[in-house]
């Protein structure tokens, strides 16, 4: 993995996420919640699909920390933990998945964003001493996950265009481990 390029891509995605997908911008308001895509986690999913698990773990940790620093609620380090564990799990489970198919990317993004965001909401509420609002958290997480899942295939397609600069070998693309 070319770490510097991944960091630049992550930073650009972070800028887009914080500047464009805002309430009043491209955030989609559903049931009083401005649903926003988690582009960093989508990037993490791309890495989890095509890179070795240990590298995915480290990249996921830093992506999570960036996401933590951009947020305004919750403890630092929570998303870092959730991102690295979730993406590490995906990189181990990717096995025989046809990762270049859009439907697989859609479903995987839906699942990972939903799981990570729900865990984040519940843990933030619990660490803050409040009773976690499970249903509302699930609704919010699902809306964010759906938005991310819709955009994930396009993001993966664009990142695959950068496969050579990213250090992604042809064997990694076709690999079914």
């Amino acid at each position: 993995m070319r770490w510097l390029l991944v960091a630049i891509i992550a930073y650009v995605l972070l800028l887009i996420e914080t500047a464009v997908f805002l309430p009043g911008g491209l955030a989609v308001e559903v049931d009083a919640h401005p649903a926003q895509p988690d582009l960093l986690l989508a990037l993490g999913l791309f890495l989890a699909f095509f890179f070795p698990p240990r590298e995915v773990f480290i990249a996921g940790w830093f992506l999570g920390l960036a996401s933590d620093l951009v947020g305004i609620a919750g403890r630092l380090g929570l998303k870092a933990l959730l991102f690295c564990l979730g993406l590490y799990l995906v990189s181990h489970l990717r096995g025989n998945l046809p990762r270049q198919r859009a439907i697989v990317q859609f479903v995987a993004a839906l699942a990972i964003v939903f799981a990570v965001h729900l865990a984040g909401h519940l843990a933030t509420a619990a660490l803050g001493g409040a009773w976690p609002p499970v249903l509302r958290s699930a609704e919010i997480s699902f809306l964010d996950a759906l938005y991310t899942a819709v955009l994930a295939p396009y993001l993966v397609w664009m990142l695959l265009l950068l496969r050579s600069p990213l250090g992604l070998s042809a064997s990694a693309l076709s690999q079914r481990d």
């Binding site: 972070l14 999570g64 620093l69 380090g77």
Partner: protein, 326 residues
């Protein structure tokens, strides 16, 4: 070639070792960050916000848009800014003082309501907080002036027997409802306007209440005889009539509203204490003078006691049961 292979192997080994170290260390670093105090976390987020979200104003999200305020201020001198801050601080201090006063007042109301509720002992009733309106103030002097004059019989030193409250028909106030303070009965509602009402004080000669004497002899409390209380002619006290000369009544006894079914008021509201008990040789009844326990002159917050309004048929438990069974 051999050299290059060795070098690349060494680089790969080095690469793998730092990854292993990070892989082992990062979860602990995350746990350490998790245990950081929230204040430090927030400060860190504010510091790094220009890096991680340069296009987003973090203070705006946190509703503390100090930057915006400084932008709007324009190119002003530090002195002008200091003056503006001082003005703001004075305004906030005033608001705080006002809020403290209001809070104390509300706390007092809650205490009074609690005490009255406890005294009413589960009686189905509604207590409406109200405020006695100040008499008219003229000329900026701290002296109260009445709207009537000598032409209506008002004399110097005369007592006020009617007061007005800031609650009326809009709050479902009705004629004849008792007006209380925590110490006891102040009067009864006389006339009801749309937004204000007139309270006839217990000392008004036109007020007539069925009362009962409560005596205390040798530490024993007893319910005594019943009589009728009216305001004295000078409007400063209450007199009780109809107490038989054989009844055991003395100065210091309590006078409360009667529990008789004929009494229009709820039972056992404190009216006052006997301050004078005369018995003329040929008289059939005691002549009692009672000092009201609750003085309207000192009171500001009062409570209008009303019977609990019956629920409309659609909101009764039976109707609700019917709806749910359907």
């Amino acid at each position: 070639m051999v050299l290059m292979t060795r070098r690349s192997r060494r680089a790969a080994a080095h690469h793998g070792s730092w990854q292993r170290v990070l892989f082992a260390a990062l979860p602990f670093v995350a746990l350490g960050l998790l245990l950081m105090p929230q204040g430090a976390t927030d400060r860190l987020r504010l510091w790094v916000s220009p890096v991680f979200s340069p296009l987003q104003n973090r203070t705006e999200v946190a509703a503390l848009d100090i930057a915006d305020r400084m932008r709007r201020a324009g190119p002003t001198s530090p002195q002008a800014e200091a003056d503006a801050i001082r003005r703001d601080a004075a305004t906030l201090e005033n608001a705080l003082a006002e809020a403290t006063g209001l809070l104390n007042e509300k706390e007092q109301i809650i205490r009074d309501l609690g005490r009255l509720r406890a005294d009413l002992d589960g009686l189905p009733c509604r207590l409406t907080p109200a405020r006695l309106l100040a008499p008219e103030i003229a000329g900026g002097q701290a002296a109260a002036r009445l709207s009537e004059g000598a032409g209506k019989g008002v004399r110097k030193g005369g007592a006020v027997i009617l007061r007005r409250i800031d609650r009326g028909a809009r709050e479902a106030i009705e004629h004849g409802e008792p007006v209380l303070v925590a110490a006891g009965l102040v009067g009864v509602i006389d006339e009801v306007g749309p937004v204000t009402s007139t309270v006839r004080l217990t000392t008004d000669p036109r007020t007539s209440l069925m009362v009962q004497i409560i005596t205390r002899r040798d530490g024993q409390w007893r319910a005594g005889p019943e009589g009728v209380a009216r305001g004295s002619d000078d409007g400063t006290a209450v007199t009780v009539q109809g107490i038989s000369r054989t009844a055991d009544v003395a100065v210091g006894d309590f006078v409360v509203t009667s529990a008789s079914p004929e009494s229009p008021l709820p039972p056992y509201l404190i009216v006052g204490r006997v301050v004078q008990c005369d018995l003329k040789p040929a008289a059939l009844f005691h002549a009692l003078v009672v000092e009201p326990r609750a003085s309207a002159a000192d009171a500001r917050e009062v409570y209008v006691l009303a019977p609990e309004l019956p629920l409309p048929p659609s909101r009764t438990p039976a109707a609700a049961g019917n709806r749910s069974s359907r």
